[in-house]
């Protein structure tokens, strides 16, 4: 846990560094060692205005949001199908939903990358940025599915019948009776999907179009060259916070109902 400590400030030195906004080169860095020698916030200030980091953050948020929306819809649909019906191939459907996270990320990444570059591109279709979202959405489905499915299993099925008896249509029943009962599980699953996508790196390596970085991808590239080690610690802390906050909210949402 000590790796963040380099970047945390004990005494506030931030004001001193606020002047140099458009700094061309990063402040002089040292490779992280142990024990810690000094504390400062200069890397936080540097990271805040550093264009590649801002672009990577924007990409991460866009991709995670896109993946979250797609996964929320698909995961909920599968959860309803597996909850309400006994049918041939039910176990297979369950397996298919789990498969994208059960198979190693490198396989998922290579499979998508192969489809994009060896099949879609020759056919004249360049998927580009959206390919990353498609790949992320695929392995995020299971997050929403798990949460919604677990809640549906505990719900009272007679409420929906009662609603139909009282003359509500399927959509009205869903909107007024069913959805409010699993809303928190739905939001919790969606947040987990966001966090999963935000943190993902292996699939991203293979599916990101050239020149596009997400935050984890940016960290990965920086890890290859040690001279900016300290600013990597800052970005790593941001990644942790931005994936922990959704998870924390999601845990709160699922616990409230128990």
């Amino acid at each position: 846990m000590r790796r963040y400590s380099f970047s945390f400030s004990i005494h506030s030195t931030s004001r001193r560094y606020r002047g140099g906004r458009s700094r061309a080169s990063p402040p002089e860095s040292q490779i992280s060692g142990w024990p810690i020698e000094s504390f400062s916030t200069k890397w936080w200030i540097f990271a805040k205005d550093y264009q590649p980091i801002r672009a990577a953050l924007l990409n991460s948020v866009l991709v995670a949001t896109g993946a979250m929306i797609i996964a929320s819809i698909l995961g909920t649909l599968v959860a309803f199908a597996l909850k309400g019906f006994e049918f041939f191939g039910r176990a297979t459907v369950n397996l298919l939903v789990v498969l994208p996270i059960a198979l190693p990320g490198v396989v998922t990444g290579v499979a998508f990358s192969n489809t994009y570059s060896n099949f879609l591109s020759p056919a004249g279709f360049n998927i580009g940025y959206f390919g990353m979202i498609v790949a992320h959405a695929t392995f995020c489905i299971v997050m929403v599915f798990n949460n919604v499915f677990a809640r549906l299993k505990r719900m009272n099925p007679h409420l929906q019948e009662a609603s139909a008896d009282l003359g509500a249509g399927l959509w009205q029943t869903f909107r007024l009776v069913t959805f409010p009962q699993f809303r928190t599980a739905f939001v919790a699953g969606a947040l987990l999907a966001f966090a999963l996508s935000f943190d993902e790196v292996v699939v991203t390596i293979f599916t990101a179009p050239p020149g596009v970085d997400t935050l984890p991808l940016w960290i990965l590239k920086e890890m290859a060259r040690p001279n900016q080690a300290s600013v990597v610690n800052v970005v790593a802390t941001v990644v942790i916070l931005l994936s922990l906050i959704p998870v924390y909210i999601s845990q709160r949402l699922t616990q409230e109902r128990q």
Binding site: V93, P104, V106, N118
Partner: protein, 291 residues
């Protein structure tokens, strides 16, 4: 979408009477996505494995050659990498079980409530604390000037440096929560009087764990091992950053993806085969329902 004002609801009535249509309309979209995008991609990967790279233009050419698969099964470098990776994944899984069972027993049956909750949070949080960040952490701990050597220097102990044991340790650290959480949940569901009964019948602690606890939590262990096994099997960043010269299946796939995609595709079939066999076995035990 639907007429909420009128008394008759043709679509709702229609769907209500036809569960097959309802099921189909629920599954159509997600199955189109998973099968039409993901499974199709895996299938195309299999097809690419039979293609070849034009030696003059270095472009991928459709065709049919078994050379790539032949290389996977005959080249010593590929065989040894496959076996090494399999070994690492099994070691990570076994290590995780060895840590998870006592921890789960302690949390579920011995620890006071506050400590149990604290430990549950301590297991869950790192799961979301950033994959790369954890690899950086392990790197900083086990590097030459790192925390481990600093801590152990007074005892005259020196860490092994970046090598295969550190890869196993890093992967265990990364995937341990996937094992610990289902095992803990399963142990919590064992009624306490089973432990009393076992000790009444004369079993000591280890006998009770071996004959009572382990059989009851086997489905949970299998569910957890699907993750520890398959995530380790495909990982290559841990090997790259904490393994020194250690090569894993993932490293070789990643190294080939740009130069020789058909070779990478053929080699990808190795982890897919391992994982699918593992999933089939796991599904037979009914453990997948818990995931």
């Amino acid at each position: 979408m639907m007429s909420t004002a009128t008394e008759s609801r043709p679509i709702s009535t229609y769907l209500f009477r036809r569960p097959r249509v309802r099921l189909f309309s629920l599954l159509a979209l997600p199955m189109t996505w998973i099968v039409g995008v993901y499974i199709l991609s895996l299938f195309l990967l299999l097809i690419t494995a039979f293609w070849y790279v034009d030696p003059f233009t270095s472009l991928v050419r459709p065709g049919f050659t078994l050379d790539n698969f032949q290389a996977v099964f005959t080249e010593p470098a590929y065989i040894s990498t496959s076996l090494r990776t399999l070994w690492i994944a099994l070691a990570v899984t076994i290590l995780s079980v060895i840590f998870a069972v006592p921890l789960g027993l302690y949390m579920a049956k011995i620890a006071p409530a506050w400590l149990r909750n604290a430990l549950a949070v301590a297991i869950t949080l790192p799961l979301w604390a950033g994959y790369l960040v954890k690899i950086i952490a392990m790197r900083l701990v086990f590097t030459e000037e790192g925390f481990f050597n600093w801590l152990m220097a007074p005892f005259g102990i020196k860490g092994p440096g970046f090598s295969m044991p550190i890869v196993i340790l890093t992967l265990t650290y990364l995937w341990f929560p996937y094992m610990a959480l289902p095992v803990y949940t399963a142990i919590r569901q064992i009624p306490t009087n089973l432990f009393d009964a076992s000790s009444d019948l004369g079993a000591r602690g280890f006998m009770t764990i071996y004959r009572v606890v382990i059989p009851l939590i086997t489905p949970a262990i299998i569910a957890g091992s699907v993750f520890t096994f398959s995530l380790s099997l495909g990982d290559y960043l841990a090997a790259r950053f904490t393994g020194g010269a250690t090569q894993m299946i993932g490293s070789m796939i990643a190294a080939n993806i740009n130069l020789n995609p058909p070779m990478a595709a053929a080699f990808s079939m190795v982890p897919i085969t391992f994982v699918v066999i593992y999933l089939m076995v796991a599904r037979r035990t009914g453990s997948l329902e818990r995931m």
